[in-house]
């Protein structure tokens, strides 16, 4: 991996500017401007929610390459236990580990025993711990980053024990170096990860101590090669035993089963995690001693770099565990002696990284807040994300910070346009809208595709003529057809029920009567009944159902009247 590259990278050529990612980001770190997704890195938890949300592959995990593998004499894969549940109930962990040999690795090591040791070490730590309660697990790096960012007061609650993927290389590196007769640094330890948060913690460790891993690959990128290798390799029964208690680590209930300190809760998914952290911060913690929190909704099984669905993967692993039977637990005395060697220790302080401004001039901060709220009050508060910020509040903040304009909001722009210039004089507006208009009498939808269908009667004639106008706001122009010269005032009717649509209001451009239609979802659309005028007004509380933004529709005046 290139130095310090974030674990989630954007491919701008694939971004279509839909901004789906901005709305799922838990810390509102993403913006989409001009079809380019940008991330405020200091806010990003690397939770990977955006990778799930992006349907166009523009956001992906940044993992190690085969060139990274080449740098080492002995290449070791350390798969997350989630991998064991990816291939169905009939594929045993030992087979999966052996399959890594055909993928350019010299061997793959099982980390279930390390997981069990980490659970036991956490248990031992909690037994001697003096609080503050409850203690919070550091297993999920995204949760730790969330605490750094939003809950710095909870940092003393973190159990200073590294996750198994960090402990495993410390357990194996020396042993393998002796076995293969190479220097410890010549062994490359690569984690096979279910999520971007764990990958990211390798390049950008949570503390100052460098990661004990040398890189990471995702389960999803190795899934295909592993599946092929599993098909081609014969089964063998000489599997190394795996730890059942370790496997339970990744199961739905996390590291809690088998712990002596049973006064624990397991919390999964961002919403529940923030709910619980809010309460711990407010001094309400349900009397729990230990909180095991994962940012993903089903723990590591729902990491975005997995392949098998979280439900089937958990069922497979349950069945695999059942077939393995029980394994003897690791002896606590042994773990306690390992505790002395500090191999489990998270050996550093977690530093608060609040995303709020540093304590400073309160007057200035309050002024900024007032300004932000004033801007917010002028926005439509639909939180639609069309501006590229996740919601109206974020856009208001971006405007205060000089990173965006209120006119990035299409609704604001439309309102401004309606206020400042009549629609017939096409003003600078990069988004166009089509009206979805109905007859106020019979409610028939009169917008048909890009057209608005009406009936027009020329004075002196009784015969209504069907007319097709452009439904695009600002484009009606001189298209009101019918007999009689330019400037004739027509009587506009509903083509379905024949009722007159004449409004009590008059055109602001020429004074002729307006015809009034209802917009779907609320609001009215009025158009001038005089041929050649093209005056239009939109009023009332319109919604995106009544005014549909036309994507990719250029405001070029050459399209006028087309």
């Amino acid at each position: 991996m290139a130095e310090r590259e974030p674990a989630i990278i954007a491919d701008h050529s694939l971004c279509i500017g839909c901004s789906a990612c901005t709305r799922v980001c838990p810390t509102h770190a993403l913006r989409v401007r001009d079809k380019i997704v940008q991330s405020k890195q200091e806010r990003c938890l690397k939770c990977g929610a955006c990778i799930f949300a992006c349907k166009h592959g523009a956001l992906r995990a940044h993992t190690s390459t085969s060139a990274d593998l080449e740098r080492f004499k002995i290449r070791v894969a350390l798969p997350s236990l989630v991998l064991y549940g990816q291939f169905g109930e009939d594929v045993r962990p030992g087979q999966i580990l052996r399959a890594f040999r055909s993928l350019g690795f010299d061997l793959a090591c099982d980390i279930s025993w390390v997981c069990e040791m980490v659970a036991t070490a956490s248990d031992a730590y909690l037994t001697d711990c003096r609080g503050p309660w409850p203690q919070i697990s550091m297993t999920c790096p995204a949760v730790v980053r969330l605490i750094q960012l939003k809950y710095p007061d909870l940092i003393p609650h973190l159990v200073p024990i590294d996750p198994p993927c960090e402990v495993a290389p410390r357990v194996y590196r020396g042993r393998l170096a002796a076995e293969y007769g190479v220097k410890p640094s010549e062994i490359g330890m690569f984690y096979i990860s279910p999520c971007t948060a764990l990958v990211d913690a390798i390049e950008r460790p949570l503390g100052r101590r460098p990661s004990s891993l040398d890189g990471a690959f995702s389960i999803s990128e190795l899934y295909g090669p592993l599946l092929r290798a599993l098909r081609n390799s014969p089964d063998s029964d000489s599997d190394e035993p795996v730890s059942i208690r370790g496997l339970r680590w990744v199961m739905a209930s996390g590291e809690i089963p088998g712990m002596r300190n049973v006064n624990s809760i397991s919390v999964k998914g961002l919403q529940d995690v923030t709910y619980v952290l809010d309460r711990i911060e407010a001094g309400r913690c349900y009397g729990a001693d230990f909180v095991n929190a994962y940012i993903c909704s089903d723990g590591c099984f729902s990491g975005q770099l997995t392949i098998a669905g979280r439900y089937s993967a958990q069922r497979y692993l349950h069945e695999i565990m059942r077939r393995i039977g029980d394994s003897p637990p690791v002896r606590e005395e042994r773990v306690r002696s390992l505790l002395q060697t500090r191999i489990f220790d998270f050996d550093d302080a977690i530093i608060p990284q609040p995303d709020s401004p540093p304590a400073g001039d309160l007057r200035q901060a309050a002024a900024r807040q007032r300004q932000k709220r004033e801007l917010w009050s002028r926005l439509p508060k639909r939180d639609c994300g069309a501006c590229g910020a996740p919601d109206c509040d974020s856009l208001a903040g971006d405007v205060v910070d000089g990173e965006a304009e209120l006119t990035d909001c299409p609704f604001f722009r439309l309102e401004q346009l309606a206020r400042d210039a009549p629609f017939s004089k096409t003003a600078a507006c990069s988004t166009r809208f089509a009206v979805m208009a109905c007859c106020p009498h019979c409610s028939t939808m009169l917008t048909q595709g890009p057209h608005l269908e009406i009936a027009a009667v020329t004075p002196g004639s009784e015969r209504p003529v069907r007319a097709r106008l452009s439904a695009v706001v600002g484009e009606m122009g001189a298209k009101l057809s019918g007999e009689g010269p330019e400037g004739t005032t027509m009587q506009i009717r509903c083509p379905e029920c024949g009722a007159s649509l004449e409004s009590t209001e008059r055109c602001s451009l020429c004074g002729a009567p307006l015809a009034r239609l209802n917009l779907r979802g609320g609001g009215t659309y009025q158009l001038c009944s005089r041929r050649g005028c093209g005056g239009q007004t939109i009023s009332g509380p319109c919604t995106s159902e009544g005014l549909v933004a036309l994507a990719g529709y250029a405001s070029d005046s050459s399209q006028e009247g087309s």
Partner: protein, 149 residues
């Protein structure tokens, strides 16, 4: 108000709305963070706001929690319409709760929560009309040294 605040914002709280109980305290915490206040101030106000909000959710019909930002302190007023408190002195005594020692050590069981609010704030006052409602006013100084507690 005897002087102008730098910023003020009101948040409605509904009684019996356990589903959203704590939401206002969380929103106010976000606001205080945006204002760049010292963490100790935010922490103490968050505890007080959470207690006040949950009091409303548990006992009152509805309330407004108003945050006023002054150069040297943050004031919060919670005005509720509810049953009121018949005996404020009783409610203000710590330990009028059935919670165990162990629970109390972890922040539970402070009775109505009023003593907990008082412990975490620099100014505290409670007025109540039985059958009408209760008004809580509390403040945390932003410039003083952290209060022990």
């Amino acid at each position: 108000m005897d002087r102008d605040s730098l910023y003020r914002e009101s948040f409605p709280i509904k009684g019996d709305d356990f589903e959203r109980g704590g939401e206002v305290a969380t929103r106010v915490k976000g606001l205080l963070q945006q204002l760049g206040l010292p963490r100790d101030v935010i922490r103490r106000l968050s505890i007080a706001n959470f207690e006040a909000e949950m009091n409303v959710v548990m006992y009152a019909r509805e309330a407004t929690l108003e945050v006023l930002v002054f150069p040297d302190l943050i004031r919060v007023q919670v005005v509720d319409r509810g049953p009121g408190i018949a005996d404020i002195d009783w409610a203000m005594q710590e330990g009028h709760s059935t919670a165990t020692e162990a629970m109390r050590a972890r922040g539970f069981g402070a009775g109505l929560g009023l003593p907990n609010i008082q412990r975490n704030t620099d100014e505290f006052e409670v007025k109540s009309d039985v059958g009408v409602g209760t008004t809580l006013r509390y403040a945390v100084h932003t410039t003083s040294r952290p209060k022990e507690g």
